[in-house]
């Protein structure tokens, strides 16, 4: 390794110089891909030095983009000693204090963007816009220098910026001709693909001519089979497509289920031909996740089978992860805790051991472990896991994850009958969500808050009810089956505990939400909550004096409780 960075290679001819930097750039990217952040940074630092020496502006712009990509991917708690002293970012801004890693990332991105814009590197420009959008999604853009009372103290993320950046990045598709680096060359690739399609084209032409309808062929339509090879480079298409994927991710955060689905579908329909398999599988993963959340597990597993056929799995692939996630969720819902624990352990093994690498995977693994422990009613252990997870997230500045960890902590306290302790966590989670515009998570935090108030006694029922009403439009509109059912249950509970409410006067106010919740939970096979629903229903019918319905609800309650307590068919939990 040392030899590569030694000066002895330093060449004299310009074209070789360009290649040397590019090689370093590739090396850095590979290191980054395989999870060696330190090595990658070394390579990048060297590349920066060389390209600065040779005035290779475009390469420098690319390297800046690559470094920012690295910084955003790898969790690094502090940059001290990582980025070489030769290219210290802090110095350039002229501030005494070292910048936080996020601010360095922002500075790098902005600089790369500026250079790309100047040099008309449209692909890089688009990439930088996407990275900026990614940054804006998860971080608050603080001004680097803020003095005095007028210094803006906006502590919220700015979703409109995300949207703007994504729109700008889509321009790559129409501007591809002007990119200085990706000029299409006369290498005969078009004729090759054309010739390959020729036989198919003529045969299908015969079949189409026999159709009764007069069809028009649009030769440049990418949905048309014998469409002509497009001069748009694949890389450009991939960039344009990833803007849509990024949109879907953004909406996952902001909470708009139809938008997630639509953007993913647009990607899967329009960009499937050019997409890399990892990105396409990501799109399918998103679609399947939506199915699992909104249509239940059977539909999701059905689709998962198809997806597995389409993408032959390797262990770390997205599809495999998704499968484990789905299995874990289902095991938790069915009450198969042993299986859930097993899957959790598998999760833990998947991630790399290098600190800071695969940080998202690690977070998810411990989140799931805490949830499994919670389901097993081992509250103190669950809380310990969640607490350690919180410190990790805090260390790596993962504020968005923090919100969900806090919500989990609130949940743990609620289940362990410590509602008063849970309240501050729920409130903190809510305010995190507010500042990061995580609307759906905020709605569920509000719901948890309502549950906590409700647990404090019946005189808080009014307050809880108003909280539920606040969260309902969001949850009903964009929440999944589980969340919806939960909100309906809480709504019914609020009414039931309210001393001023009488069931006999307005039975529909309780029974309607309960029926709907029962319907949703049936699809989800969630025994614990279904039991709760039927319990509440039986109670209500008891109040109303309807004995037959009461007995029926009670029987269903018993059914679910026994299913929860005696998991009979635990083996088939791994089968789908």
């Amino acid at each position: 390794m040392q030899g590569l960075f030694s000066r002895s290679l330093s060449p004299h001819q310009d074209n070789i110089v360009g290649k040397y930097e590019s090689a370093l750039l590739c090396l850095g990217n590979l290191h980054c891909y395989f999870g060696h952040p330190k090595k990658a940074l070394e390579a990048f630092t060297e590349a920066v030095r060389v390209s600065q020496m040779n005035n290779d502006d475009s390469c420098l712009a690319y390297i800046l983009g690559a470094i920012s990509n690295l910084l955003s991917k790898i969790g690094i708690s502090s940059t001290v000693g990582l980025i070489g002293s030769r290219y210290s970012l802090g110095n350039n801004i002229g501030l005494g204090t070292p910048l936080s890693i996020q601010q360095q990332l922002l500075v790098l991105l902005k600089r790369s963007l500026k250079r790309a814009d100047m040099l008309k590197l449209t692909s890089l420009l688009s990439f930088d816009h996407i990275s900026l959008a990614k940054f804006d999604l998860k971080h608050v853009q603080r001004p680097l220098v803020s003095f005095g009372p007028n210094g803006s103290t906006k502590l919220r993320t700015c979703p409109a910026d995300v949207c703007k950046n994504l729109r700008l990045s889509s321009h790559v598709l129409s501007d591809f001709g002007t990119d200085g680096l990706s000029i299409a060359n006369d290498n005969g690739s078009f004729s090759t693909s054309w010739l390959r399609n020729l036989s198919d084209a003529s045969s299908s032409w015969h079949s189409s001519s026999t159709k009764p309808r007069k069809l028009i062929t649009n030769d440049f339509d990418n949905f048309h089979f014998h469409a002509q090879p497009s001069p748009i480079p694949t890389s450009v298409l991939q960039l344009a497509g990833s803007a849509y994927l990024m949109r879907a991710t953004a909406w996952e955060h902001y909470g708009s289920a139809p938008m997630v689905r639509m953007n993913t579908l647009v990607y899967a329909t329009c960009f499937a031909d050019a997409a890399s398999s990892s990105e396409l599988s990501l799109a399918y993963v998103k679609l399947i996740e939506q199915l699992a959340v909104f249509k239940g597990y059977s539909a999701a597993f059905c689709a998962l089978k198809l997806a597995e056929e389409k993408f032959p799995s390797s262990t770390n692939s997205q599809i495999h992860l998704l499968k484990m996630q789905l299995l874990h969720e289902r095991a938790l819902h069915r009450g198969h805790l042993r299986i859930a624990q097993q899957i959790c352990d598998e999760f833990g093994v998947l991630s790399s051991s290098v600190s800071g690498v695969d940080i998202e995977l690690k977070t998810e693994a411990s989140l799931r472990r805490a949830r499994t422990l919670l389901a097993a009613k081992q509250f103190s252990q669950a809380a310990a896991v969640a607490n350690s997870l919180f410190t990790t997230c805090y260390k790596y500045n993962m504020q968005v994850e923090n919100a969900s960890v806090l919500l989990l902590l609130a949940e743990i306290h609620r289940k362990s009958d410590n509602a008063v302790l849970g309240l501050p966590y729920a409130l903190a989670s809510q305010s995190f969500c507010k500042s990061f515009n995580l609307d759906l998570l905020e709605a569920s935090a509000t719901l948890t808050l309502a549950e906590l108030w409700l647990a404090l006694g019946s005189n808080h029922a009014k307050r809880a009810l108003s909280l539920v009403y606040q969260s309902l439009p969001m949850i009903l509109g964009h929440g999944g089956l589980e969340l919806r059912a939960r909100s309906q249950i809480v709504l019914a509970k609020c009414h039931l505990t309210d001393p001023e409410f009488s069931v006999s006067e307005d039975p529909c106010a309780v029974l309607d939400p309960l029926n709907q919740a029962a319907e949703d939970l049936q699809v989800l096979e969630y025994h614990e909550m279904a039991a709760e629903v039927y319990y509440l229903k039986a109670m209500t019918y008891n109040h109303l004096g309807k004995e037959y319905e009461r007995e029926e609800a009670a029987a269903r309650f018993k059914e679910h409780v026994t299913a929860l307590e005696n998991p009979r068919d635990e083996e088939d939990s791994l089968v789908y």
Partner: protein, 729 residues
């Protein structure tokens, strides 16, 4: 603040003229928006025009009626009526948080910069309008000559329409229910109460008994007062507000999309026309040279260097020429740039925001217990959401095809330019390098086809292959679009389908709300003989709602009293020169324990004639009287302000139908101009009809027959007039 025939002039109080517009149609009614920022005009042919007060720009024009709009009433929800329930249901429109400002209509010729300053202003105005109007819930009601009443939230989103001719009126009289129906209705006045609970309207028409048709007689033709129950507006205020807010901005954006598509197709066809015009010379030249080959073959042979036929040579060098070629290149390039701008700045953002707003609406529709009874249907919304998703795919496809085609054009044209330079033996180093393969593709597929145009036309059906079909069907398992045939459609076709389903989805709330507006009561006011039935619409009348004094402390459930004030035309009911004031009509219809219907008649001294009247704040009536030409007071007028509380209301029964017109029972009071019922001012001019009273500013504006406008401050005790009117032409 003045209107003339088919011309609208707006003045400030200091008579500074703000603007003048002439819509070119006869304006039949006018009213202000509750916040005073918009003027609504009703025209003869049933349009409602909304104009910005600041600059007179037309913001919207909505065709809601078929015939002339007689009256407008724009009522806003009382801010006081907020209850704690409302706070709890606070709903945020997330769009502004997640998106940059919505795109506006693309302008044709957006490149000429001299014009932009003004146009930008206009855009801002529209933007401000759509955002400002969403602040508080308000409803514009419009009544027309044929008895239709339309309701539109914020004046832009139609939410209901009822035809008085078809509304059954049930009247409870002595335990027996009778239904009536009005025929040939012409609405003369509508007024919605401030809490949006009740609507009172005056209309003329024939009252018939639907149970027993023989009962109707001559007397049944007359002016009637109807009370409609519009409590759906107040009860479902929040829901309607949310829905209309989303829906009206969706409609705006749909217009943006439409304009974008039409503009793109115009721009592109212009460029293509030029291109084909120039290149069509080639085939004719070829036949002139007696050659059988097509122009495609000729270009091919030029590309592969075999030979250049004399025809092609002639075409390239003389008929096309370098300058002509450059012109084509420039035109196509600028059209392409326009296309690109329209797609990226207007079409894509508009479609994106539409889809987001639809997703929000779909979310609302899921809340069945709240939104189903205003007709927001989940299934329909789902359908629309699907359609908009397909539209996004189509837009993406279009932008891709456009990018490809433009690139090919650019490539081809620079190749031709290079050839021309070679033929003229000029240096070619200025011309950018070209890809010869792409030239082949261009010649083969673009020379006589136009894929961009295909996508912009509605009647095209595209062929698509089995692989794509499989792919799309495959996606259905993953939750993709269930309508797998959508790729057959063109962009424009997809858009029109979206529009259709949007219309269907928004019609649901419209019909649901319309069906929930019922007639609550009827009070025949006075009969009209058929001869003057036509003029009956012009008899002065005024309806107003005042808040009950005694219920003010109880803000959550305040009620309001309605006052109806009108002039009885001479001859009707055997009365001459009478003005009637009636109160508590609504309350008497709905409940029995509240103060029942009461009123009084006012006899105006014989030497005067009532020109116009209006209700003013704090239960006052402003009468505009003018001296009759026969008397010594000819040429002089009086403005009389009466405090109704000082006058004695007497109750009268609503026995029905024994006596149609009970007004005769009312006590007649003599109006003495020198009594202290109210204030009297004398105006030294003969006056003509429109009397405008503004309760908030406390002024009255009157028009003299000599085309003067005068503004009086009503509350001041001094008798002097404030502003001597400016001369109107």
């Amino acid at each position: 603040m003045v209107t003339d025939d088919s011309k609208v002039l707006l003045h400030r109080f200091n008579w500074q003229r703000l603007w003048t517009i002439s819509p070119g149609k006869c304006i039949t009614s006018i009213c202000w928006s509750p916040d005073g920022k918009i003027v609504a005009l009703g025209t003869e042919d049933g349009f409602v025009l909304l104009h910005d007060v600041e600059n007179g720009k037309m913001l919207r024009s909505i065709k809601s009626h078929d015939v002339a709009i007689i009256c407008l009433n724009w009522a806003e929800d009382e801010p006081l009526s907020r209850t704690d329930k409302e706070d709890l249901l606070s709903y945020e429109d997330r769009t502004t948080r997640f998106f940059p400002p919505a795109p506006v209509m693309p302008r044709i010729g957006g490149l000429n910069s001299g014009d932009t300053g003004l146009a930008d202003e206009n855009e801002e105005a529209i933007q401000a309008f759509s955002s400002a109007s969403c602040q508080r819930f308000n409803i514009l009601c419009t009544g027309d000559k044929d008895g239709c009443i339309c309701f539109s939230i914020f004046g832009i989103f139609p939410i209901g329409k009822i035809n008085i001719n078809k509304v059954p009126i049930h009247v409870q009289s002595s335990g027996k229910r009778t239904s009536y129906r009005l025929q040939d209705v012409s609405i003369s006045k509508v007024s919605l109460s401030r809490n949006l609970h009740q609507l009172v309207l005056l209309c003329s028409g024939k009252l018939i008994n639907t149970d027993n048709l023989s009962l109707s007689n001559d007397l049944s033709v007359g002016v009637h007062c109807l009370h409609l129950d519009t409590s759906i507006f107040s009860n479902r205020k929040n829901e309607l507000h949310q829905v209309s807010q989303q829906a009206s901005s969706i409609q705006d954006l749909v217009e943006v999309v439409r304009a974008s598509i039409s503009m793109m197709s115009k721009q592109w066809s212009n460029a293509m026309n030029l291109f084909h015009e120039k290149f069509s010379a080639l085939p004719s030249l070829l036949t002139a040279h007696g050659m059988e080959s097509s122009s495609e073959d000729e270009f091919m042979s030029l590309l592969f260097g075999t030979h250049t036929s004399p025809a092609l040579h002639q075409f390239l060098v003389s008929s096309l020429g370098e300058a002509g070629l450059k012109r084509i290149a420039k035109t196509i390039e600028s059209a392409g740039r326009e296309l690109r701008i329209v797609v990226s700045e207007h079409l894509q953002p508009a479609v994106e925001i539409i889809s987001f707003r639809l997703a929000e609406l779909r979310g609302l529709a899921r809340w069945r217990s709240r939104f189903q009874n205003i007709g927001l249907d989940e299934k329909l919304m789902d359908g629309v959401t699907e359609r908009v998703g397909m539209l996004v795919v189509q837009v993406e496809r279009f932008s891709r095809v456009a990018a490809t085609v433009l690139y090919l054009f650019q490539n081809f044209l620079s190749w031709v330019l290079k050839c021309v330079k070679i033929l003229l033996s000029e240096p070619t180093d200025q011309v950018p390098s070209t890809n010869s393969e792409l030239v082949v593709i261009f010649l083969k597929f673009l020379l006589d086809k136009d894929p961009i145009k295909q996508l912009l036309e509605t009647d095209q059906i595209f062929e698509w292959d089995i692989d794509t079909a499989k792919h799309v069907e495959h996606l259905v398992v993953f939750g993709g679009f269930t309508d797998t045939k959508f790729l057959e459609r063109s962009l424009a076709k997809q858009f029109s389908e979206l529009e259709e389903s949007l219309k269907e989805a928004f019609l649901m709330p419209f019909t649901t709300v319309s069906s929930q507006i019922h007639c609550q009561g009827l009070l025949p006011l006075y009969p009209v003989t058929s001869s003057d039935a036509l003029s009956s619409t012009s008899t002065p009348a005024s309806i107003a709602f005042y808040k009950d004094k005694d219920s003010q402390h109880n803000a959550s459930s305040y009620s309001s009293t309605d006052y109806i004030c009108f002039k009885i035309p001479d001859g009707s009911l055997n009365l001459r020169n009478f003005v009637a004031v009636i109160k508590d009509f609504c309350n008497s219809c709905s409940t029995s324990n509240t103060p029942s219907l009461s009123g009084f008649l006012l006899h105006i001294p014989v030497e005067y004639e009532c020109v116009d009247l209006s209700l003013y704040k704090d239960n006052q009536v402003v009468l505009l009287l003018s001296g009759k030409s026969s008397s010594e007071n000819a040429g002089r007028s009086w403005m009389v302000m009466l405090q109704t509380e000082n006058l004695s209301f007497s109750q009268f029964s609503r026995t029905f139908p024994a006596n149609y017109y009970n007004l005769q029972e009312l006590e007649a009071l003599e109006l003495q101009l020198d009594t202290d019922y109210g204030k009297v001012r004398s105006v030294p001019h003969p006056l003509s009809t429109p009397l405008a009273v503004s309760a908030s500013r406390g002024v009255a504006c009157i028009f003299s027959s000599r085309r003067h406008a005068l503004v009086y401050i009503l509350d001041e005790d001094e008798d002097e007039d404030e502003d001597e009117g400016s001369e109107m032409e």
